[in-house]
């Protein structure tokens, strides 16, 4: 009796979940073998990671803080994918949002209750403006947004470097390359974790509801799955594309706003910490589901925090990055393999 492998269009959820779990375990085993070869004790390291991440308020707070920008950037990328737009410019929109929010904080006087919401709006608008040109180019000239959004990342990165070391440099002269500390900060509610976290969760739920429970969301889902079908049903594909891409940019801009106003408190070059690019991975892990972004961002935050733990144990940044990449790589393979089954030929 011969057997052969058959590909099925989509894996049942239980199999997909099991494949994910197996992938993470296998990635950790592989990483453990590599670490053992480098002369570390993988079990002790693993215990250390677990103990300091989940066994202390330090670790939990750090994860809680890390997850905020990851939720926003992951959601931004996932929202774009809903209509088939690959926004890999979340990094640039993050900077634009941080820049706009900082501008409001530094130059608009007023009480916190007014300025913080204003910063929120400015962050969203900043992010949306940053994706405006790629959006219009895609909608009207069919220019691939992959390239345009990516290229604008570099522009935004350099722009923020320039303002933070130039015109907006801390006038006190003490900071090397940052603006002054913002006069208003997003308040913290648990240790170092600020109110950006609940806001991020609410935004995720709102966006999830937008796609699940509105006519507009239904049309966007159809258009994202098959633009032909949207045309067939007479839906305004272009208008939806523009709206969704601007929404994606605005959400990425919020990531920048909360990072500068809640975590770093000053605008500086490198403030994005690659959160824009990590958002792509979060969206992939979430399979472009808005609600799925929450667990995916949490997993990513735990991985990143574990990376910090490993660094303090004498493991270099590059090794940590390799292990992080390994976990994501195995997960991607697991996702694909979950769609195969063995059948009797």
């Amino acid at each position: 009796m011969a057997y052969r492998i058959q590909r099925i269009p989509s894996a049942p959820p239980s199999v997909a979940l099991a494949a994910r779990g197996l992938a993470i375990v296998l990635a950790l085993v592989t990483a453990g073998i590599v670490l053992a070869a480098l002369g570390f004790n993988p079990l002790a390291l693993g215990w250390q990671v677990l103990r300091t991440t989940f066994g202390s308020s330090y670790g939990l707070e750090d994860v809680g803080l890390l997850v905020i920008p990851l939720i926003f950037t992951g959601l931004a990328v996932a929202v774009g994918q809903k209509i088939g737009a690959q926004n890999i410019g979340a990094e640039g929109q993050f900077y634009a949002g941080a820049f706009a929010a900082t501008g409001v904080a530094l130059f608009v006087p007023g009480p916190m209750a007014v300025i913080l919401p204003l910063m929120f709006v400015a962050g969203a608008i900043g992010g949306a403006i940053w994706i405006l040109i790629p959006t219009l180019a895609r909608a009207y000239a069919d220019v691939n947004e992959l390239i345009t959004t990516l290229l604008l990342n570099f522009v935004a990165t350099l722009l923020v470097y320039w303002v933070a070391t130039g015109p907006w440099l801390d006038p006190s002269g003490r900071a090397l390359a940052t603006t002054a500390r913002l006069p208003h900060e997003v308040p913290e509610f648990w240790g170092i974790v600020h109110w950006g976290l609940p806001v991020a969760v609410v935004v995720v739920l709102l966006v999830g509801a937008l796609f699940a429970f509105t006519r507009w969301g239904y049309e966007v889902r159809i258009a994202g799955s098959n633009p032909q079908a949207a045309r067939y049903a007479g839906m305004p594909f272009r208008r939806h594309l523009i709206m969704v891409m601007l929404l994606s940019g605005a959400i990425a801009g919020l990531a920048g706003m909360f990072e500068v106003a809640g975590t770093v408190h000053r605008l500086q070059g490198g403030i994005s910490n690659n959160f824009g690019y990590l958002g792509i991975m979060v969206a992939v892990l979430a399979r472009a589901s808005p609600i799925g972004v929450l667990p995916a961002a949490a997993l990513m935050a735990i991985i990143l925090n574990s990376g910090i733990v490993l660094q303090t144990q004498g493991i270099t940044v590059s090794t940590v990055l390799a292990i992080t990449g390994l976990i994501l790589f195995y997960t991607a393979i697991g996702d694909e393999l979950a769609r195969y089954r063995i059948v009797r030929a």
């Binding site: 099925i8 269009p9 989509s10 699940a212 429970f213 509105t214 006519r215 507009w216 969301g217 239904y218 049309e219 889902r221 159809i222 799955s225 098959n226 032909q228 079908a229 045309r231 067939y232 049903a233 007479g234 839906m235």
Partner: protein, 533 residues
């Protein structure tokens, strides 16, 4: 340096010595796909020195048969005999090693590479040390030896389609192919280019090789081939000496001699009579967005309570016609009148609102969102009206309820309405789409190849759906490649060829030969209009 041999005059015709085995022999070939018989019990002999035409409508099994011969598919039954020895090809590489090469409709050339680079790509004879000059010299020599004119240094992207085809043929021939299979090669050529191709093919078989020429065009089959094998519904109908054939006899073989009449044209007592025009197309012209004219002055009238059949070989503008009359494509010129109102500039939403349903030809590509749930797909036409939608919201529960109704009406058993629609079989997708469209088709239903991919029982059900709508007074535009279906169902039949209507006949007076000729590009003249039949 050896002086090149003087060219040997080629004989005008290669006559194999008596007792020579066929170069290719297929015996009892069968191939089944889920729910579809692609080929069954097909025999085919191809002799050295002959051009053998393979004639049949789209979906008759020509391409599948050739894909079996070239190792792309494995036959489920039957055997392949080459030069008298049974062979089995696990891949096209093995087939080409046995001297069997195929030129597909869509060329497999690298556009950014030169002709010489494409010829040498993936070829074991390519020298290890290559330079542009070496490759181009080799290419020029090969082209000369095979009597095919190409510019070795030209980039593929700069060549015309005919020149690209020549490169593709050269590529196959350089692999020492003795049997050259061409899949509808003239579809992409100008008449002059086609002529040139025919000359090259005749040269090729004069050297003792063979050509299998896939086509559905009667005139060129008569012009080029020595023998012709006709396939219909996956089976071989006949193999004839071309010299003894006429366009009429070939057309009859191709579309079927005996039509099993299960006439559905009769109307029940309560049925609506054929009424006023619902939709009128006047002199519609459209291009495919790349400058090719696909609708070329087409005029049609759709009447309430009438099924208008569209016959013709696929690819003659049927797809674009469905797009134009559902608002998905704007005509470049001409008018569309709907109930007297000008809908020439209307979009898909306006047509749908008016009551135009559309069962598209490639349902998975234009009628469905494959990765979304069955529910999402089932409600595509009614998501924007109560109870699914009140203003801004979208009621998922109401959507599932509607999806259940549609699935029930379509007799599709759905275990999980949240499952992606692509997990359904093609037949079930088709039935869902049909039922969904019928719900909104209060005035017009456009049904493009609605029976494609369905088994006999399902086809019958689909036909009854159309009759049901007709009896309610809906105008039905029914596009099909199956003449039998068209004759059983339509009140009138229009035949399309190259974006034009060759003629419209009343089914009652229709004559299969005439329709076959019109499908092959003969315009309906007054004396052939079927009055005498």
């Amino acid at each position: 340096m050896i002086a090149p041999e003087p060219p040997v005059p080629v004989p005008t015709r290669f006559v194999p010595p008596p007792g020579t085995a066929p170069i290719v022999q297929l015996r009892g070939i069968a191939k089944y796909f889920p729910g579809v018989i692609a080929n069954e019990d097909v025999d085919l002999d191809v002799m050295p020195g002959e051009i053998h035409a393979l004639l049949g409508e789209n979906g008759a099994g020509k391409s599948t048969l050739m894909n079996i011969l070239t190792g792309i598919y494995q036959p489920d039954a039957g055997e392949i005999v080459i030069d008298g020895y049974p062979q089995s090809f696990a891949s096209p590489v093995e087939a080409i090693a046995a001297g069997i090469g195929m030129v597909h409709q869509h060329f497999k050339l690298v556009k950014a590479f030169t002709v010489a680079e494409n010829i040498h790509l993936g070829w074991s004879d390519t020298p290890r040390a290559v330079s542009a000059a070496v490759l181009e010299r080799r290419t020029a020599e090969l082209a000369q030896a095979l009597n095919l004119t190409v510019d070795p240094a030209a980039r593929i992207g700069e060549l015309s389609t005919g020149e690209q085809q020549r490169v593709e043929i050269l590529r196959v021939l350089t692999r020492k192919a003795r049997v050259l299979i061409l899949d509808e090669p003239t579809a992409v050529l100008t008449p002059a280019e086609a002529h040139e191709l025919f000359r090259a093919l005749k040269d090729f078989v004069a050297r003792g090789n063979a050509v299998i020429f896939i086509s559905h065009k009667l005139d060129e089959v008569l012009e080029i081939s020595d023998r012709v094998t006709v396939l219909r519904g996956g089976r071989k109908v006949a193999t004839e000496q071309t010299a003894g054939c006429t366009e009429t006899s070939l057309a009859r073989l191709m579309v079927g001699r005996e039509i099993v009449l299960s006439d559905m044209r009769g109307r029940s007592a309560g049925a609506a009579p054929i009424g006023a025009p619902v939709m009128t197309l006047e002199d519609i012209r459209a291009d495919d967005g790349q400058g090719h004219v696909v609708l070329d002055g087409l005029s049609l009238v759709l009447r309430a309570g009438e099924i208008l059949g569209i016959a013709g070989v696929a690819g003659n503008g049927q797809k674009e016609l469905t797009q134009v009359i559902t608002g998905m494509r704007q005509a470049a010129s001409g008018r569309i009148l709907v109930d007297g109102a000008d809908f020439s500039r209307a979009g898909a939403a306006e047509f749908a609102d008016f009551g135009v349903g559309h069962i598209p030809e490639d349902r998975l590509h234009s009628g469905l969102a494959p990765s979304l749930s069955i529910t999402d797909n089932a409600v595509l036409r009614e998501y924007d009206r109560p109870p699914l939608s009140g203003g801004f919201g979208f009621n998922g529960r109401a959507a599932t309820a509607l999806a259940k109704d549609i699935a029930e009406a379509a007799s599709v058993t759905v275990p999980d309405f949240g499952m992606p629609v692509r997990n359904l079989s093609g037949g079930n997708q088709q039935r869902l789409v049909a039922r969904r469209e019928m719900r909104i088709a209060s005035r017009v239903l456009v049904a493009a190849y609605p029976s494609r991919g369905l088994d006999v029982g399902a086809i019958n059900m689909m036909m009854r759906y159309l009759v049901e709508l007709r009896d309610k007074g809906v105008a039905v535009l029914f596009i099909s490649e199956e003449l039998e279906e068209l004759l059983n169902l339509s009140d009138r039949i229009a035949v399309m060829f190259h974006g034009r209507v060759m003629g419209v006949v009343d089914t009652a007076e229709a004559d299969i030969d005439t329709i076959g000729l019109m499908m092959g590009g003969k315009r309906l003249t007054d004396d052939a209009k079927g009055r005498g039949h």
